[in-house]
Symmetry: C2
Subunit: 205 residues, 2 copies
């Protein structure tokens, strides 16, 4: 933008790089912040710094946790079922399940999906720690591993890889999320793969 002061331009650039924010919304945000109280803006800035300073990653599942704690709120909760591990791509997926309030097991965050196109191999994901963790847990009880990667090409490939790596371990059962019609869906608009899955996976009524 012409004749914008440097600090304004720099902040617009920062906001415009965030997911889902274009240059126009970034400018709108920054011009609002220009008029916001100084304390509000410095509190926002402090909040940003705190995300790196006060956050750590869970040693067990790689979820985020408070700095200074080894394990996250889920892993350190004895009332969660530690024999059921939901394997998700990232922390956003973990919190999507936490919001349902009905999952009582624990998680493992892969930190991505296997993607030859983007040069991401299994060794860059948190798979080694998952294998070690499962081996440790099966000494106490059987373990169910629920593969909860997205139902797309990369999610499927990663799920297949995990199945091959882990199914040999005694005491481990591997399942994956049900496929079918989403709640509130319109049969008319559902794609044929979804319809096929819904039909082949039909259950008693």
């Amino acid at each position: 933008m012409k004749s914008l002061p440097g600090p304004v331009e720099r902040l617009i650039d920062h906001f415009a790089k965030l997911p889902g924010i274009g240059p126009k919304s970034a400018a709108r945000i920054v011009f609002q912040l220009v008029h916001a109280p100084a304390e509000y803006v410095s509190d926002f800035a402090d909040s940003l710094v705190s995300i790196k300073r006060d956050i750590a990653f869970c040693r067990e599942c790689h979820n985020i946790t408070d700095q200074g704690t080894d394990t996250c709120a889920v892993c350190s909760n004895p009332s969660r079922d530690h024999s059921e591990i939901l394997v998700v791509e990232d922390i956003l997926d973990l919190f999507a399940f936490e919001r349902t309030g009905s999952y009582k097991g624990i998680y493992h965050v892969l930190g991505g999906l296997i993607s030859p196109v983007e040069g991401i191999g299994p060794e860059q994901l948190n798979i080694g720690t998952l294998v070690a963790r499962v081996k440790r847990l099966v000494s106490d009880s059987t373990v169910e591993l629920v593969i909860a990667t997205n139902p797309n090409l990369e999610g499927e490939a990663t799920g297949m890889y995990l199945k091959e790596e882990l199914e040999g371990i005694a005491g481990v059962s591997i399942t994956r999320l049900a496929r079918g019609l989403p709640s509130g869906a319109d049969l008319d608009y559902a794609d044929s793969t979804t319809l096929e899955r819904a039909l082949s996976g039909r259950s008693g009524f």
Copy 2:
């Protein structure tokens, strides 16, 4: 969100309060920042603080300018036409005109519109400084004041108020932005007020 570390929740709240960002996009942004390099995040935070620390408002037109300068890049530019003042609601509007690259006059930022519903009267806007500025400028030459408020109820009312306040000053002519069809419009979809304005304001071809 359940079991989210405090700093994460606080930053999500901050982002969710910004215009155009909902709680879901805020979470997506924050989880991306959690994984971003610490220098990147601290640079972002510094950028935020700088918006209050390094920015001032132009004494003449109330546009933003670098801290330590009295007047903005437009007002301090001698090659701009200082006898033509475009009166806009806010800085975003000013930069919308600057982006066209074709306006050569100067601006005056009102800082809002008269709105009895929201309790905003003329005395809360930068109208006093506009009147004083126009009186100063007319001693040198005639001045054209282009009312460029949005074509809605509040914009119209504010424009009318400005006209009444300023038309008595000798040497001042008051104009407003043309009304008509926007470029690329479809006649079929234009509302009848726009069509009436386009017809009554028709010009030679």
